[in-house]
Amino acid sequence: MNDLAATEGVIHFDRLIVQTELTAISQILAWFGTFQQSPVTQAIWLQGQIGLVEGFTNAVRHAHEELPRQTPIKLEAGIYPNHLEIRVWDRGSPFDLDALIDRVEQAYPNPIEHEAHWGAALFKKLRDQHSWQIDYRCSREGQNCLKLTKFY
């Protein structure tokens, strides 16, 4: 996987490492606030914000469920001339995010029906309705990377 910081034409890049603790959400939101800048529009920034937080809570609640709270979760984001990219790195066991996203939509055709699995539903909406590319894959040394990419 290429290095985000070194990708050509980077306008703004930053990295944040947090522990496996849900209370880090406010810190993550504050960190992502610096990505609210041109050429990222308000709408895309808001979509990125929800994607980032969902990726993080997914790592804490599912990927790192069995792991100690000191286990680091690495967040990276970069603004480029033609796209915004967000990465969430966890150390859990790999799983098939695409299958989960598709299953959720089939199981709940009516939004008011479900009280759970809204995380996967939001990913599906970002992917299908707002053309975000969502990619979750296992990489070197047992790390997983959730990559969210949006071309303007």
């Binding site: 529009t41 709408a43 539903a121």
Partner: protein, 326 residues
Amino acid sequence: MIQQSSIEFSVIHTEELYLLQLPALLTVTEAVAFRTKCRELIETKPTPSKIILDFAQTTFIDSSAIGALVMCLKAARSCQIELVLWSVKPEIVAILELAGLDRQFTIEAETLPLEPSSKSQIEATHPSIQSRTKRAIDIAGAIVGLGITAVVFVPIAIAIKLDSPGAILFSQTRCGHLGRRFQVWKFRSMVSDAEQLKAQVENQNEGAFFKNTHDPRITRVGRFLRKTSLDELPQFWNVLCGEMSLVGTRPPLPEEVDRYEIANWQRLNVKPGITGEWQVHGRSKIRNFEQVIQLDLRYQERWNLKYDLELILKTIVVLFRKDSAF
């Protein structure tokens, strides 16, 4: 492993009405406490008639909060309790819209002063939304407008059909009050596959919206309809439905809203109108997106009923002047 935060939700209540103030962030760490509090309020005896969720402080909600809100809505419905969301920021509306839930919830302006009053920084909703007189004028105007539409419908329909094959009416998704999407209706003035051809037509506007003076997709009859503004007549239906007003801001396309900078969100604080500042001051001569936004914000600043009536009269004058539209 959900860490429960020791969050306290403040509740204000009158006899039959409860107001629950939500925190700045409503996420997985607050969701359990939020669910519990909602359930508690719903099960209160005697059953409240209305529960208000006050979003004035809230800047972010996540999937867990959405799940909790859905639970709360379903439970309230089953007990015949009215559930209303107050002072919802556009950021939160955007998340509800992403979830496909924006139409499920009643989003209302802050209207009732509650005792003891809490002086939180509640974003005031624009007074034009709350004005019953404005709504009454809209309904009366829409009925008159639809009457006129009924009279001219048959000749216009025949002309459209003879000139170019396809539907008589044309609908398009626009963004209304607080960005809520609706279908705006017009007489069709372009060829049927106009949307597909859009990319081929050079965009002459600067900034975030699509308009072209010499658009080859416009039909001959369409050009006449636009020049006389007759194509706008079916919008009186949108006014009757309450999605639009007679006078307001220009209704933007969803793609335009996607490209808004933060300051431009304010434009969505009022209902869009059939006419407005942009029709009266300059109409098609305005080429720059920022100018349109400026006119929209000026309308919000200056709004009062007399101003609305003035704009209606000015629109009628403009309609009878020659160089008004294309």
